[in-house]
Amino acid sequence: MNVVVDRVRKSYGRGAEAREVLTETSLTVRSQEFVSIVGPSGCGKSTLLMMMAGLLKPSSGEIRLGDEPVTGPPAGLSVVFQDYSRSLFPWMSVRRNLTTALTASRLGKEEQRSRVEHALESVGLAGKGEMYPWQMSGGMQQRVAIARALVTEPTVMLMDEPFAAVDAQTRADLEDLVLRVRHEYDVTVAFVTHDIDESVYMADRIVVLAANPGRIAADLTVDLPRPRDQVETKLDARFAKLRSEVFRLVMRPDTPASA
């Protein structure tokens, strides 16, 4: 399902205090597409994503999921937050974290159980349902967060810098995991990151944001072959070219392209 950001603006604060964080922005994430949203820290990536998730109200403009205006968290859309320790519920076992995500969908017990098992298997945590998040490493916890997002079998998954807090090795594993489950679950993904390599490696399309005020600086198509490979893809000349293009846009958004 398409996610449409239609002339959306966002400012925080009121009156003289008001600060525009995102100028009028339009963007469409098409069905089945994987879009990276990359930009410097504080440019409004999370703000944009939270509005798409229905967790934050735009100051003006509209977000639509398919044809439906988004006024609150919509069904069929899941979010993976950056800070897993504050988004997973540590007082619940992994299994209970996942079934809690299913309470809104009113499924039968048996269906719930099989969905949970499937989701855990997809993220490589089969048999870990009885563990508690605090018994797990950061990488495993973020896997749980991904499983919790997938267990509702969403059409859209929004991810806000999901791997910012894990080490490089785990990060590469999780990147490949997301690319795999994306196909398994046929899900449309908007993936926020500040890591330029990651934004290129993951995406079909890169939306580069610039700061002060937040706006779209560029919208690039990634023509790298799939499936991606941590070694092969990153050796590809097109990868290097895109990477430096995004780098230039993020670091010096106002200089013209150097051909």
Partner: protein
Amino acid sequence: MTSPTTPPLTPPLTPPLTPPLTRTRPGRATTALRRTAAGVGNLWLLALVLVLWEVYGRVSESLFVPPISRILENFGDVWLGGPASQLFLSDLFWSEVTTSLSRFARGWGLAVVVGIACGVVLGRSPVIAQMYGPVVRFFAAIPNTVLLPIAVQIFGVASNMNVFLIFLGSVWVVMINTADGVAGVDPMWLRSARSLRVPRWVLYARVIVPAAAPQILAGLRVSLGIGLILMVISELYATTEGLGFQIVVAQSSFRYLDMWSAFVLIGLIGIVLNLAFGRIETRLLRWQRRTGLDAL
């Protein structure tokens, strides 16, 4: 008398020889040993008091302060000595302790339910909190025993009076702690729950109340003490049975040994309830050890 600072019970941990990342954990045996050492260390003051008491009791031959050994002997005679089917506890134990504890259970149980329910409402709604916060603080500030005459006036000398007093004394601290805890729940957890579109009852029962549990349980622990005190006090003042009543009767008929051994029993009940509560609390709050494997 303020208790003297306890001497360091264990030598400070020697710096780990392994690199700092791998925190060395003491083995199970060492931990047990250290815990025993700590327990013994904490008991020495109590032991000292008991020995002094024993000596004073024997030397002074005062009727009012009998030696500890005789109190314990009396304790055995009065409260123990039942058949195995009664867990070796006497008939008097069963009748008096059940009476008192059932009053406590009803009063405190009601306080827990009402306190948590109202506390959640107060914690979730700044408007209601602003309206009723002063009322709650007013009642919480009243010394609980002042309510005793009022309770007697309303209920007369009946079990309901004791239950009411226990309830009224312990409900406020539960309510205030719950409200604080609920108001302070990490907004990230609320956002996470909102994005999962959980129904309202799930939001409260599985997210808000558990997230506020550390503070709710802290309130319950304080209220447990208050409830026990009020259980005894209300029985001292007006009743015809129960542990407090036993103390009054013993005291007024100069049976000081019986009086002291009833004190011992009440103290033991308090310790047992507190230990049980502590166990439940640790179990419920295991998740707070959020450091765990996180750093790896």
